[in-house]
């Protein structure tokens, strides 16, 4: 097996997609991750590289409404896609509910993993409103947190479930 350690960069192409309501275009090589594009051209800081292998949830963003790890999505997959991060969800009613529940129940300490958690919960609430059977705790099953022991997060999820069943 040979590994070329000084390869020529692949010709960049334009990745054009909608980010938080704005269309952005960026010249990148096609295998660049969505996470890197967001943090670079997108000026996003809420999606973070916790592991780079899609196993921690810190880079969770909404892709066409679904919560996905941004580090596993590549630039070539982004045309005509819609990406949302917490920076763009400030007016979103589901995010407002999530934010309030997380803050009230002290579901964060350092808060580094929290935007990813918030995105997962927003995705869960949206699915619930579309009539899908959703377990909100399952929605955050892929978001690792090291500070809180998940106590506050479980309480926030319970609070969201209660208010969900009321609507």
């Amino acid at each position: 097996m040979t590994r070329n350690t000084q390869p020529e960069p692949c010709t960049p192409e334009t990745a054009t997609f909608e980010l938080n309501g704005d269309v952005i275009s960026h010249w990148v090589s096609p295998a660049t991750t969505l996470l890197d594009i967001l943090r670079d051209a997108g000026r996003i800081i809420s999606a973070r590289a916790g592991c780079r292998i899609g196993r921690c949830g810190a880079c969770t963003v909404l892709l066409n409404g679904q919560a996905v790890p941004g580090c596993l999505v590549m630039a070539w997959q982004l045309s005509d896609c819609r990406v949302e991060t917490v920076e763009g969800l400030t007016e979103d009613p589901d995010f407002i509910r999530v934010k309030e529940a997380l803050a009230t129940e002290s579901a964060l300490q350092c808060g580094y993993c929290t935007p990813g958690i918030a995105v997962s919960l927003v995705s869960g609430l949206r699915q619930h409103r579309c009539g899908e059977a959703v377990d909100l705790e399952e929605a955050v099953a892929g978001n690792l947190c090291r500070c809180t022991g998940y106590g506050g997060l479980k309480r926030a999820v319970d609070a969201l479930k209660e208010t969900s069943s009321e609507t």
């Binding site: 097996m1 070329n4 991750t33 899609g54 969770t60 997962s120």
Partner: protein
Amino acid sequence: MSAPISELNFVSARRAVRVLRPDSPSQAVSLARQCRASYTAGGTWLQPAYERDQCWPENLVALNASWPGFWGLEDGSNGLTVGAMTSLAEMARHPLVRDYLPPLAKFLNLVAGPGVRALGTVGGNLIVGGDLSALAMALDVRVDVVGHAGVRTLPLSQWLRERTSEDLLRGFTIPDCRGWRMSLEKLGYRERFSPTRATLACVHDGYRLRLAVCGEGGLLRLAATEAFLNGWAALAPDDFGAVLDCELVDHGWQDTHVRMALRRMTTGLLSEVALGT
């Protein structure tokens, strides 16, 4: 799948990776041959491997879910056909999966986290011997493969033995298993998504029992154990333990404790599919 490791060229940076976007499956196969490229669909298994080694294939061939037959579920006279690019999340939600494969939706929660399930494909999972491959083996799934000579359909077990580097998995068909009793269990490291130590699938089709395992020791249809159980159904299920252990050891399952666990998990699953109660 893709070219064997020795044939691919690798590069040490993502930005050097070329992503080829063929218009059709046959073009994909040609490109894979010519450029000695690796296929990519969800990328949820391969990308971690590339990141770990800081080593990417020079060329990737992007698969397209809109190619006919590559995505979605359809049932017909042959059974349930599943497009390889269907995501794990889509499988979990699909009403046909509730009918054909009742335990699957819940089981998928153990296979990967929700974000990875949204991106990862069933085809990708089968190809790397992931958790779904045990069930697929036990169900005698038949795969539709696009090769340089066109499309062919063959049993999964045969394809896994014979596949060439440019074979492209289009989809697979599960026989009409509605009404069959099936049970799945994964032995991992914690409550949710973790590497598989062993995943066991146990299926009773009304006539006979089918058993398969995947994980640390590889993918294996437990033919000898099945034969024992199917031929000697009158005996208490516990007696199959020695046969199972031998079969596992013969096929490279080295860890004693995992084999011990598998014996007991099998007993558990057997009683669930009603050989016991």
